[in-house]
Symmetry: C2
């Protein structure tokens, strides 16, 4: 583990020294340079070039979702440790003086913050399900949505590829079981060829989410046994512990049930999504092709429009 931690620290330091990441005093929270963002834009453009012909509906959500939406999603059951809820000050002038006094004395002023109705998005697609559900029964063709969202997961780490705030670009498919599985099969092919075109070494493996606690272990086992999640793993700081940069998820009727989404025939909808972790892919590209983007292989720059 020490070797791995050293490798994480070394790569993070390298990225900071090169000005690609800007420290913000918290592990997993960084500003990005203009060069870093051009790569993010390039990944998004390459994703669009492949996905746009399917004519998805574009939805762009803020970094938050309604707290009630979070509750209904079931995420608190499976992964409470990653959830971020937004809290705020709701006191009087006098309470404010107490807050500032606590702050001055170095105490925990934030203990008095009250929960708002806002939570942070744990994944890019969480805004989609309630939005589609609100429209009533799906059409025969189902639905296809394109999202790009800032997500939050509370897992402070010095691994630059494990940020607390990061973006996911996704396509989300809602429809019958066959529509969901066909979508995932298609994107597993597209994903392989895109990551190959990025010039990155990778393997695709069955995976599980980092569910919480004892019940979480059972969830993880059944997720693997049923092949619900596949990931594109790319070595970034370690060959033995490669990083999941893209995931292909089949949720069965989990969100269909949570949000009462119905297929045209009146059954419970099945859903699937493909998610590109744009920060992780950017970090993988910088690792494999070097920190100077102008020196990247012309073919890779071409695919990314750089």
């Amino acid at each position: 583990m020490t070797v791995l931690v050293d490798a994480h620290r070394a790569y993070r330091d390298e990225l900071v020294t090169a000005g690609l990441l800007i420290p913000m005093g918290v592990d997993g929270l960084y500003g990005r340079s203009g060069a870093f963002e051009r790569v993010v834009d390039g990944i998004n453009a390459a994703f669009s070039a492949v996905g746009d012909p399917d004519r998805p509906e574009v939805m762009r959500f803020p970094p938050g979702i309604g707290k009630a939406q979070l509750e209904q999603s079931g995420y608190l059951k499976s992964s409470p440790q990653l959830v971020g809820t937004v809290h705020s000050f709701a006191g009087s002038d006098r309470d404010h003086r107490v807050l500032l006094d606590t702050l001055d004395k170095g105490g925990d002023w934030s203990a008095g913050q009250k929960a708002t109705q806002v939570a942070l998005a744990p994944a890019a697609c969480y805004g989609v399900y309630p939005a589609i559900a609100a429209r009533g029964r799906l059409a025969e063709a189902g639905a296809l949505v394109d999202v790009f969202t800032w997500c939050f997961r509370h897992e402070p780490s010095i691994d630059p590829a494990r940020m607390q705030m990061f973006r996911q670009r996704e396509h989300v498919r809602l429809g019958t079981e066959i529509q969901a599985l066909d979508f995932r099969r298609l994107w597993m092919e597209r994903g392989r060829s895109l990551i190959g075109a990025f010039g990155l070494p990778f393997e695709v493996e069955v995976a599980n989410d980092p569910f919480f606690g004892r019940t979480g272990k059972l969830l993880a086992t059944s997720q693997r046994e049923e092949n619900l999640k596949f990931e594109v793993l790319v070595p970034i700081t370690s060959r033995e512990r490669p990083t999941a940069c893209v995931s292909f998820n089949y949720h069965r009727d989990l969100f269909g049930r949570a949000w009462s989404i119905e297929t045209a025939a009146g059954g419970t909808a099945h859903t699937a999504c493909v998610g590109f972790g744009v920060e992780r892919l950017t970090l993988a590209l910088l690792k494999h092709h070097g920190l100077a983007i102008k020196d990247w292989p012309p073919k890779v720059r071409d695919v990314l429009g750089l």
Copy 2:
């Protein structure tokens, strides 16, 4: 006031019905359609066309800043009621069962959330000051930074132009008093001509931030008396109560002192920023030119690249 509230609700309903905004169950929290985002992109492009020739350094921050950065900024003193802090679950399997039980019973499960080291960005430029401060003394020319950030302010409202999560595009100037004031003067001219080119009616007025409590009233008065803040006001839902869509801020040495930023000559740096509220401008454009972007005046579409 009732008339104003009705106007807010009517415009919000109109935007939701047209599919431009997607409700998320919380006032001030909405998804955006692809059409809405094309306008946002157009505003950003128009801003870049004017500002890029100054060769700003591009920084892109996540929606959060370090809690310690928030503390050091002084924002908790002036506007605690708007602050969002991020809290998370940090308990055991047993605590998790209690949380789920509370959730099942409709109780306040989020009261047990613990503060993390992350707060939400109250304005786009808050990441800039510590990043520049960390580099040591400024060069003779000072610094100029381009940011575009998701911000959070806890002020739930049915006014679609008062969102809890929204984006600001800013240029931030750090240097001597003269450099800061020259920058602001330049952008006040540029701002007028850009908003004019957007085909929007507007006026520029001296303004103040919505500071908290009794001390806040004094802060607001002195901010106005010293002409520290000007705003471009555009009527959206009301002619009598137009909406601030762009602001031009001179902070004197407020952030220079908070972050110990030094000019080349060793004095405390002065700072200024220009901030474009991209959601508010989008809502103003949709109000004045109509919800169908293809029918907007050709000159306006041209400026926005639409």
